[in-house]
């Protein structure tokens, strides 16, 4: 009977299934994009190759939001600490033109000491103050070529090289140029520190804490572990809000769908009651129908999400959409749970219908 009922009203079924699919897709894509962005950012920071990061007091884990109040000279003092191999200052800022891009202002020689240097896919390092490097993902998504001029912070930059992705940012300019453009002379937002051996990381952190007690000092491993939505309350709230909206959509559509179904099928419910169907049977019929609709929606949602990911990644190559089995299961469970909740009141209402009135319903 459940299958027949679903096939009997194809438009209603389609709308309900689509709503659940959108719910599933919304949950998976929001979580996937958020987690993807976090993990991708963290991996790029790890890709710099440093063991320790030093940020000013109160700086955000989102590096692009960090101010630049640290004098570059701090780096010289850090470099004198035992077991420190290299220190490189980086000035970070966001370019919001043509999308949000994190830009690293780097001191090429020390950055090379810490990171081991860029892998150039095309072109080479900076030759002039207004040269820039972009990574291959940025170059592909923006169709950028070596020698091309790009407008950055109202200044024209020449692309001197395209480097392999995964080294902190997607755009790099010389540190001195970055300081000049942002008015942060002799300042840096972050110091990346390479130890003589990774085993000295904790010892070096202890030394830095004595030198700069109020600064934020993280080992790269610690930073990686902190880059989850659980450690970023605002992001967690955003994800929760989006999930609530998604589940709410599914809940309301299934509620309305089943509510109209009950009204439409009042007479059929009366027939079932005349045959001796009890409240539990009637509730079971409604909930099974809602379950089937939501399962179909979940399956369509999974397929739609997979397709949407393909389209997003093809359209915006710099975006990372991280789809996991864990969140796929959660999205499915939330959709089915929300649908059952939405169908519960209509089911109770159907079970309480008076059989005589139901049989007389036109």
């Amino acid at each position: 009977m459940i299958f027949e009922n679903i096939l009997h009203r194809p438009i209603r079924t389609l709308v309900s299934v689509l709503a659940v699919a959108i719910e599933v897709g919304m949950v998976m894509l929001v979580v996937g994009m958020t987690h993807g962005m976090l993990h991708e950012t963290a991996k790029r920071v790890e890709g710099v190759g440093a063991d320790i990061m030093v940020q000013p007091p109160g700086a955000s884990l989102f590096l692009g939001l960090t101010q630049a109040p640290m004098p570059v000279q701090v780096g010289d003092r850090l470099a004198e600490l035992p077991h420190v191999l290299a220190v490189t200052p980086v000035l970070l800022f966001l370019n919001t033109r043509g999308g949000i891009n994190l830009i690293y202002g780097i001191d090429m020689p020390t950055f090379k000491e810490v990171s081991g240097g860029f892998t150039y896919l095309k072109g080479g390092p900076f030759e002039h103050p207004y040269d820039m490097l972009v990574d291959d993902w940025y170059a592909r998504s923006n169709n950028v070529k070596v020698g091309e001029t790009i407008n950055l912070l109202n200044n024209k930059f020449r692309v001197s090289g395209i480097v392999e992705h995964g080294m902190g940012a997607r755009i790099f300019i010389p540190l001195s140029t970055a300081q000049e453009l942002t008015g942060a002379h002799d300042k840096a937002s972050i110091f990346y520190i390479k130890c003589t051996d990774p085993g000295y990381t904790q010892a070096v952190i202890t030394s830095i804490k004595q030198l700069l007690p109020t600064h934020q000092i993280h080992s790269t491993k610690e930073y990686m572990s902190l880059m989850t939505s659980n450690d970023l309350p605002a992001l967690n709230a955003f994800i929760s809000a989006m999930i609530t909206v998604a589940v709410g959509i599914g809940f309301m559509v299934i509620f309305l769908s089943m509510y109209t179904t009950i009204t439409e099928r009042t007479r059929e419910i009366g027939i079932l009651k005349s045959l001796g169907a009890g409240k539990r049977y009637i509730i079971g019929v409604i909930l099974r129908e809602a379950s089937l609709l939501s399962i179909l929606g979940v399956v369509l949602g999974y397929a739609g999400t997979w397709l949407a990911r393909k389209v997003i990644v093809a359209t915006f190559p710099t975006l990372t959409v991280e789809l996991t089995i864990h969140w796929a299961l959660w999205a499915g469970l939330l959709a089915i749970g929300g649908s059952l909740l939405g169908a519960f009141y209509p089911a109770i209402r159907a079970a309480r219908l008076d059989p005589v009135d139901s049989l007389a319903y036109e």
Partner: protein, 244 residues
């Protein structure tokens, strides 16, 4: 009632002869039912006394609004009586709640309605089988086949109600009503929507069910021809039985 699948009329006749010694299947005393319409109480049954023995075929006639359908609904446990005593197959409805009456209906009562009341999304086969499903004893293919054959609908089982004529739909409805071997078959104007030919066919099937299988039938009708098929005729007026 014995099984509706008793073979041979001799055995059935022997059982019919025992009717007098058995407990009545229906017994009502001063049965009343009052509906509340807005702020007004509308009495539908005003003290009905009725005794029906097992195996009887009873027709209830009377003008519209005389309480026939209400009597059928009360006897089928679809609605609670307002007063008096109702015993159906030994079960006193006064002490039964909605869930108990539903369970009783599931196992003891079969309904046939004027408008057939088949589930439009299901085939004839599933419309009949759903009664067995609701009863909870599982699908009984032997019983199903026998009923379908008896009512002449074997070749229509895979059709949905919209693809069946009125007479065929009513036969499916009868099959659904008797497939679980109810103690009592309650028919509410079963020929009300049928032409003469189909009416005759449905009535003869009800007659056969009663004669061959001792199915107790209480049938409400406006149609004197339909009423004449029954063994016993009861007339109602203004919520009371005026002749028996």
């Amino acid at each position: 009632m014995g099984s509706i699948f008793l073979a041979g009329t001799e055995e059935a006749a022997r059982e019919v002869s025992q009717i007098g010694c058995m407990e009545p299947i229906i017994s009502t005393e001063n049965l009343t039912k009052t509906y509340r319409v807005g702020k007004v109480d509308v009495p539908a049954l005003r003290g009905v006394d009725l005794v029906v023995q097992e195996g009887e075929f009873l027709a209830v006639v009377g003008p519209s609004g005389c309480g026939k359908s209400t009597l059928l609904h009360v006897l089928g446990g679809l609605t609670r009586p307002s007063g008096g005593r109702v015993l159906v197959d030994g079960n006193d409805f006064r002490g039964m709640n909605d869930a108990q009456r539903t369970k009783f209906r599931r196992h003891k009562i079969g309904f046939v309605f004027q408008r057939y009341n088949l589930l439009p999304t299901l085939t004839a086969r599933h419309n009949i089988a759903i009664a067995q499903h609701i009863q909870g004893d599982g699908f009984n293919p032997h019983r199903f086949e026998t009923v379908a054959e008896m009512l002449g609908i074997k070749d229509k089982l895979d059709r949905k109600p919209y693809a069946l004529s009125g007479g065929e739909q009513q036969r499916v409805a009868i099959a659904r009503a008797v497939v679980c071997e109810p103690k009592l078959l309650l028919a509410d104007e079963p020929t009300g929507n049928l032409d003469t030919e189909n009416s005759q066919l449905v009535l003869s099937m009800l007659r056969n069910l009663n004669r061959d299988f001792r199915q107790t039938i209480l049938m409400i009708t406006h149609n004197p021809e339909a009423a004449s098929v029954a063994d016993r005729l009861i007339r109602m007026r203004d919520g009371q039985i005026v002749s028996d």
